[in-house]
Subunit: 321 residues, 3 copies
C-alpha cells in the first residue's frame, strides 16, 4: 500500500467531499463548514440526548483492524444518534489480513449494501486503499491509519479549540510527545494550519522527532521547557511504552521528568494555557493527573466534541449521495 | 475500593432513586413500586413483543468487566425494548483495570453522553465507586459486584415470588449453596426481608456459610434435610466448582448427595414448594434436572421477569432525570 | 443428535413454514414463494436503503456456535432492515457446549422472549434439535449445520440463478469441490432440484466425493475438465485446507491444477457460463482471481441476494405467528 495520501481522491467530480481520508488539502472553508455542522448537530440533538433521523435506513460499518473501543464507541454513537444501522466488524484478532482478502471483505460488505465504512488499521494508507477499490458509492472514513492520519481527531481538536478561542490565528500551539509516529500530530497540524494558527511547535525527544521537512512551517524542539514558553495551547500525545526504549529513555519517571506535563511546567506557559490530549491518558507518564483533571484541561470536551464531529462528517458524506 | 455499601448514595437530594447499587435500605414501598412498574411494563410491552419509546434517545452502556452473556442480554433487551440505544462495552478480556483507568473510561463515556451504566465487576463496591465519582447525571445500575450484591436479581426473584403468593409474610424461604460468596443470596435476603418474608433459612456447608452476624434474622443451617422441612420456597445457588475443594467436598456427586435438590428431597418440603435458581444451572450438581424442569420450578419465570424488572429500573432511574 | 432431518418438523399444523431447517422436501411452489418475496422486499426496501417495519418489536437472536462474520452480518442486516431487534450471541469461543447446556441456553433466551433463533453449529442436526425442544413459538433458522444444510444459501443461490435464467429446467449445473463435507452443495442441489434444473454434476476428488446414493439424480465426476463440458453454471466450493491432506493432494497449486477454476478451464464450458461461489473465496486455490472478478462471476450478486432472501425468510416465518 502506498503511504502518501492523495487529497483529491476524497472529492467527487463536483468537488464535494465523498470520503474523509485525510485533512491534508482541505481548505479552511471546508473544515469550517464541518465544524459548523458539528455545532448545529450538537444543538439539534440537544447535546446527544435526542435521536435524529438524518441517516434513517443507512448502514454504517465499523471496520476496525486495530482495537479501539473508545473511537469505535464514538463513531457507533454518532451513527446511532443519526438513526443509522451500525454493524461492528472487529477484525483486530485476525492475525493477518492480506490486501486481497481485505478487499474481498470490503466488496462483500458493499454487496450487502453499506453506506459508510469507518476504517482503522495499523498500516498507513489502508482507508485510501479501500476507497480506491470501492465498487459502490459508499463513503470511507479514516478512523486512524498507521502514523499517517486521524482526521476526525484533527477536526474534533479544532472544534474544541474554536470553542475557546474565536480566532485561532493569534495562538501558539505546542504538540509534545512521539511526533514521529503520531497520526494525531499530523491531523492536528493540518487542521490547525488550515484554520490559520500562527505558530506550531513540535516537541519530541530527538529519536521521536519527525523528519525535518515533514512539517513545513512548524518548529521542531527537543527541550519541552523551551517549547512551552509563550504557549496558548499544549497538546500532549500518548506515549506508547515500547517507544520509550527506542528513544533511549530509561523509565517512565525519566520520560515524565523530561517530557511530562506537570503543574509546575504548565505554570511556565501563558496564563490560562489550554491542555489537550487525544486519550487514553497515561497518568504520570506524559501528563500529571492534576493537570489532566485541572481547570485548563479540555480532555473531556474533546471526547464530547468527537461524537458531534463524527455526526457531522457522517451527515455530510452520506447526505451528498 | 470499600466493600460496605452506603444505602444513601443511591438516592438524590429529594430522596428519589438515582442509582440502583444495592437493595440494602430500600423500603418495602420503594421495592413494591419497582415491582408494580415491572408488571405494568410487562402489560404495556405485551410481554416484550412491543417496543415502547420511554427511553428514546437515551444511551445505556453495558460495562461488563466479568463475562455474563445472560445478564447482559437481559439488560440489552430491556433497554432496546424501551427504545434506548445500547452500547456493549465488554472489558472482560482486559487483564487488569486499575481504579484510575476505570474512572478515565467512565468519564470518557460520560463525556460522550450516556444516561446509564450497567456495571458488572468481580470486585465488590465497583458500581458504588463509579457512582461516587460520576461527573454527569448518569445512573449506575449494579449488575453484580463481587459477592456483595445483584439487586436486579433480588428484585426479579421477589417479583417471581409475588406472582405466586400475594402475601409473602407467611412464607418460609430456604436459600441453599455457597452463601458466603453469593451476591444473589445477599440481594434475595434484602428483597424478601423488605417484603416481610417471615422466615429465611440459609443452608451451606460450614466452609461456605456466612459470618454469624452478617444475616441478622436468618437461621444458618448446615443440614439441607433439616433446612427443607416446612419450606415454601427453595432458592438453589449455582456452585462454582472451585468452591467445592474449599468446602472439602470431594466430588460433584458428593455435593449433590449433601446439598443437591433431588425430587426426593423436594418431596420433604411443603406440598407445592416452589423452586428457584438464578441460573445458569449445573444439572446434577446443585439441582436435579427433573426438579429444574418440573412443575414446581420457577426458573424460566425468573428469567422472563428479569427483563421486566430491568425495564422498570431503567425507566424509573432515567425518567427521574 | 440425529443427523437426518425430518422435513415435516418445519411445518405447522396448517402446513405453513414454521422453521427453516432444511430445503429437503420443500416444494417448488414454496421455494418460489420465498424467492418472490425476496424480490418484493428488495423493491420495498429500495435495495436495502430503506428500513421497513414488518418486524418492529420482534427479537431475533443470532446464536452462532461457529464463527462466521459474513453470514451473521447478513442475517443481522436482514433483521435490522425489517425493524427487528437483534442480539448477537456468539458462543464460538466456548470450548464445549453439551446438549443439555445448549437447551438451557435456548430456553433461557426463549424466556426473555425471542421470536427467532438463527443457528449455526458445526454439528449437523443442531437447529432441528433446538426446534424439537422449543417451549415457545419461536422460529428456528438454520444458518449452517455441520455438513448437512445451509438452506438460506441454497435459496440465495436459486434466487441469483433465477435472476439470470427465467427457466432453470434447461440448465446444466456443475458443483465442484469438497462435496462430501459441503452443506452448501446439499442445499444447492435441493433448491435447484426443486426448481427443475435438468442436469446436476458433482465434481470432487475421489476422497471428497459423496456416497453414491446420497445425491440421487446427480452425476458424480472426478475429472473437472469432463464435468465442465456443456456447463451453464459452475458452483465452486471453498476448500478447507485440512481437507487437501485427506484428499492426498500435496499442495494448493496441485489442487488448483486439478480442481481450480481458471480462465482457460472456464472457456471450456458453454459461452457465458455463470460462476458462483458461497464465499469467502481462496484466490488461486479453488478459483482464479480473474474468474472471481470477471464478467461471468455472480459472487457479489449472491452476497446481495443473501440479505433479501434472509429478509424473506424472517418475514415469512415471523408473520405467520
Amino acid at each position: 500500500m502506498k503511504t502518501h495520501s492523495d487529497p483529491l481522491l476524497q472529492l467527487d467530480a463536483a468537488g464535494r467531499l465523498r470520503h474523509l481520508l485525510t485533512l491534508d488539502g482541505l481548505s479552511r472553508e471546508r473544515i469550517t463548514e464541518l465544524l459548523d455542522r458539528a455545532d448545529e448537530l450538537r444543538a439539534e440533538s440537544r447535546g446527544g440526548t435526542r435521536r435524529l433521523d438524518l441517516l434513517a435506513g443507512r448502514t454504517v460499518i465499523n471496520l476496525f483492524f486495530e482495537p479501539s473501543t473508545r473511537t469505535r464507541t464514538s463513531f457507533d454513537l454518532a451513527a446511532q444518534r443519526l438513526g443509522a444501522q451500525v454493524i461492528n466488524f472487529d477484525i483486530a484478532s485476525s492475525s493477518t489480513v492480506k490486501g486481497e482478502t481485505l478487499l474481498d471483505t470490503v466488496h462483500t460488505l458493499e454487496a450487502m449494501h453499506c453506506d459508510a465504512f469507518v476504517v482503522r488499521h495499523k498500516e498507513s494508507g489502508t482507508p485510501e486503499f479501500i476507497a480506491r477499490h470501492l465498487r459502490s458509492r459508499a463513503a470511507v472514513l479514516n478512523a486512524g491509519d498507521g502514523n499517517q492520519g486521524h482526521p476526525t481527531q484533527g477536526l474534533l481538536d479544532a472544534l474544541t479549540l474554536r470553542g475557546r478561542h474565536s480566532e485561532l490565528s493569534a495562538l501558539c500551539v505546542v504538540i509534545c510527545g512521539d511526533i514521529r509516529h503520531s497520526r494525531v500530530a499530523r491531523s492536528d497540524v493540518q487542521a490547525f494550519g488550515a484554520l490559520g494558527v500562527r505558530e506550531m511547535r513540535l516537541c519530541a525527544p530527538p529519536e521521536l522527532a519527525p523528519a525535518a521537512n515533514e512539517f513545513p512551517g512548524c518548529a521542531i524542539v527537543h527541550d519541552f521547557d523551551a517549547a512551552i514558553d509563550g504557549a496558548d495551547v499544549i497538546v500532549m500525545l500518548r506515549l506508547q511504552k515500547e517507544r520509550m526504549t527506542a528513544a533511549a529513555i530509561p523509565s517512565e519517571a525519566e520520560y515524565f521528568r523530561r517530557y511530562g506535563l506537570s503543574p509546575a511546567r504548565l505554570a511556565q506557559a501563558r496564563a490560562n494555557c489550554l491542555v489537550m490530549h487525544p486519550g487514553p491518558i497515561n497518568r504520570g507518564v506524559e501528563i500529571d493527573g492534576a493537570v489532566a483533571d485541572g481547570p485548563q484541561s479540555l480532555i473531556l470536551e474533546q471526547v464530547a466534541n468527537g461524537v458531534f464531529v463524527r455526526m457531522a462528517v457522517l451527515a455530510e458524506l452520506l447526505s451528498a449521495k
